[in-house]
């Protein structure tokens, strides 16, 4: 057995932002991993002392890819603080606006961020390689170009209803700032009809309902249509199912909260079954982050960077824990928690499960968006207003494309006294906690194969990107 050489991998692209992974290797495998989120901006500190409504302008700018998710969380946190919830149609329109972003993110992740790695020369000679290059080559691949065009057209819904993307102010605690009329509704439905055509022609190569009806990994692997079929062929050949397996604990705050219930249900999946989420049991542990202070619930937490960057820490990311444990978040988590049979059967899975969970959710999200569009009432009230109290607190718990996103705000004297954010990749790319328990990615990387001479191991890249990390959100 060789001594354990250490590999430092970075810069990491086709993730939103940058990350560095330190790998200890033995016998051609990763035996231990440390994940470093290398950017600190300090949004939580920027918000202190400001008018609470400023959170609606500033927090979307944490992230240019999940901007609306940040809006939604801020709006929900302020709504909770005022005790005034959005009008029913305002909430449904906010859900539609949010879903457009989430669907766009899933689409980009698959086509632009994840799949191009299969066009690397190390795969030349595989039966699918030429097709992978044709579809997924970085910048020039046909599938990537088609995804960019399809997303652009889908986002016309955002131009219409949210002014622009990213960084809209359309989502407010009481609803949305623009009330659609009959022709807006038709435009939205038209954009969705076109997006479905694209998804069924290019991405799935079949009806979305048929893909959503898949109920087992065997049925999934039998799907041959579209780029999804190509992905599954590649996944079978490269054994992506076994690569980067998760610990089987999944959290979802519940996506698209409406009066009639969530679009995708909230819950904690643990030991093979779903239970409720105990929000009070969430803490952030800064023991291995360049942050000062102790472990605390986000209503009591602080973000004070350790400017000495002490040796015992290795990232700007705090370690969130639920009931003392790390949890995985994301599309797969949401679909498992929501009880979709295919996702449940994939629980505990690796790269294949995460990507399949995302594709499943893309199909299901399209169906949800079509439903909300049909239900738009062009006579309804889309926003109500309410004065913020001088002293209040509230949590905004939503689901970004990449998983559970929480904003916790405390208002004192009419100003923000404290604002804490836990983003999806904060959970997934968490460092070790005070007990030394690694975060979900750090755990998933253990066992990843590293071939002789690989300085940026391709398996590590597949595993990292299977989480669809958003590093700018992670530390914020």
């Amino acid at each position: 057995m060789s001594d354990t050489p250490r590999l430092v991998v970075g810069p990491f692209n086709r993730v939103e932002g940058d990350l560095e992974v330190q790998l200890d290797l033995a016998d051609g495998k990763v035996v231990s991993a440390q994940v470093n989120a290398p950017l600190y901006r300090g949004f939580e500190r920027m918000l202190e002392g400001r008018a609470p409504s400023d959170a609606l302008t500033l927090t979307p700018r944490i992230c240019g890819i999940c901007s609306i998710s940040q809006s939604a969380a801020a709006a929900r946190a302020l709504a909770a603080a005022t005790g005034v919830m959005p009008t029913p149609q305002g909430a449904a329109m906010a859900a539609l606006i949010h879903a457009v972003e989430n669907a766009s993110d899933h689409l980009f992740h698959f086509n632009l961020f994840f799949m191009p790695d299969f066009t690397r020369p190390c795969y030349a000679g595989r039966g699918w390689y030429e097709r992978a290059v044709d579809r997924f080559a970085a910048i020039n691949g046909a599938a990537g170009r088609a995804a960019i065009a399809a997303r652009t057209d889908l986002m016309h819904i955002l131009g219409l209803m949210a002014g622009k993307w990213p960084h809209t102010l359309a989502l407010q605690p009481g609803g949305v700032t623009r009330a659609p009329g009959p022709r807006d509704k038709l435009r939205i439905e038209t954009a969705l009809r076109q997006f479905r055509k694209y998804l069924e022609r290019d991405v799935f190569g079949g009806a979305l309902e048929d893909f959503c009806a898949l109920d087992s990994p065997a049925a999934l692997m039998g799907w041959t249509g579209g780029d999804v079929g190509l992905f599954l062929e590649i996944a079978a050949d490269t054994d992506l199912a076994a690569m980067g397996r998760g610990a089987g604990r999944y959290l979802s705050f519940g996506a698209y909260e409406l009066a009639e219930g969530h679009g995708f249900a909230p819950g904690l999946w643990r030991a093979g079954r779903r239970g409720p989420v105990d929000q009070a049991a969430i803490i952030e542990d800064p023991s291995h982050a360049w942050m000062l202070g102790g472990a605390a619930h986000p209503f009591k937490g602080q973000t004070t960077p350790d400017e000495t960057m002490r040796e015992t820490a290795y990232t700007w990311c705090k370690a969130p824990r639920l009931g003392g444990e790390p949890v995985e978040v994301g599309a797969l988590a949401r679909q498992i928690v929501d009880g979709h049979p295919l996702a449940v059967a994939l629980a505990g899975g690796g790269v294949l499960a995460r990507v399949a969970g995302r594709l499943l959710e893309l199909a299901r999200t399209q169906i949800l968006m079509e439903h909300w569009a049909r239900e738009i009432d062009t006579e309804a009230v889309f926003m109500r207003t309410a004065a913020l109290p001088e002293t209040a607190s509230g949590a905004g718990l939503v689901e970004a494309a990449r998983g559970a996103l929480g904003h916790w705000v405390r208002i004192e004297g009419g100003k923000i006294a404290s604002y804490q954010i836990i983003a999806p990749t904060t959970w997934n790319f968490s460092p070790r906690d005070a007990q030394g328990v690694p975060g979900p990615l750090e755990t998933a990387l253990v066992g990843a194969p590293v071939a002789e001479g690989e300085d940026t191991p391709v398996a590590v890249q597949h595993i990292v990107r299977s989480f669809d990390p958003c590093m700018v959100c992670t530390v914020h």
Binding site: P11, S53, S67, G163, P166
Partner: protein, 332 residues
Amino acid sequence: MNILWLQAAGCGGCTMSALCAEAPDFLETLSGAGLEFLWHPALSLQSGAEVAALLAAVERGETPLDILAVEGAIARGPLGTGRFQMVSGTGRSMLDWVRALAPMAQHVVGIGTCATYGGVTSAGGNPSDAVGLSYDGAHPGGVLSADFRARAGLPVVNVSGCPTHPGWVAETLMLIAAGRLAEKDLDPLGRPLFYAQHLIHHGCPKNEYYEYKASAVTLSDHGCMMEHLGCVGTQAVGDCNIRPWNGEGSCTRGGYPCIACTAPEFEEPGHPFTETPKVAGIPVGLPSDMPKAWFMALASLSKAATPERLAKNAVAPRVAVTPTIRKPKGHR
């Protein structure tokens, strides 16, 4: 021409916005103009050691660089080290890399208000001590000196905006590729005049409300948002309402105010973003180039003359009263 694109301390939203370009799409637009990415963090295949080698080759002058595009502010903290943003795998800060690479480029382009002036990354107490490439807010001199000139002779080209409109980025890069962007084509803050010579007010669908000072009281009202809701579209540069966003959008079309995101220090307006500061009930802030006395006189006059249609529609979420149709005095 090749482009090396770096994402510094920002949100990545200017890239995400650029990819919304239309007719043709962003990548097609660039390739048609003879532009290609040497490396782009969201798009390129190369990762890890390949990228570190690529950056080093540019730094050593082995790989000629035409355009260095930087998105995001540059973090100088903690304690001046730049270590709030390390470029992973290289052991060096983004601050260090930008200072090393900028002198190698024929052109340096700041993409977005963070890269140009510091932007939202420098909001609040500026926790990461972030600045723009050649500006610290509105003050010349950022991580590059105020008199910095890229090899081809231009100062940093500041494509500000939060985010940038896809057209601003695409057209700036195309103008550079065509050799058609000179210093006279930039405004005094380094912004390309083709979009910075316009105001957000130009083409704003709320113009008629503005003319009569028929004001929205809450977000989602139809009226002009200048008097109560913090809109500074009459002062902010940009052609957002001339060529809209994502099909047919803009901030004011979406029912919320312009916050002058193309301007240095927009992140610190000194009041809540969506509230207009007032002195003795009179809004602070004048439309660009408008003498105060005239504005006051015109405002009070036009307010008195507000048609009932506008007064009602201004505080409604939908058009409540439609324009009176004047029948043609034709011969039929």
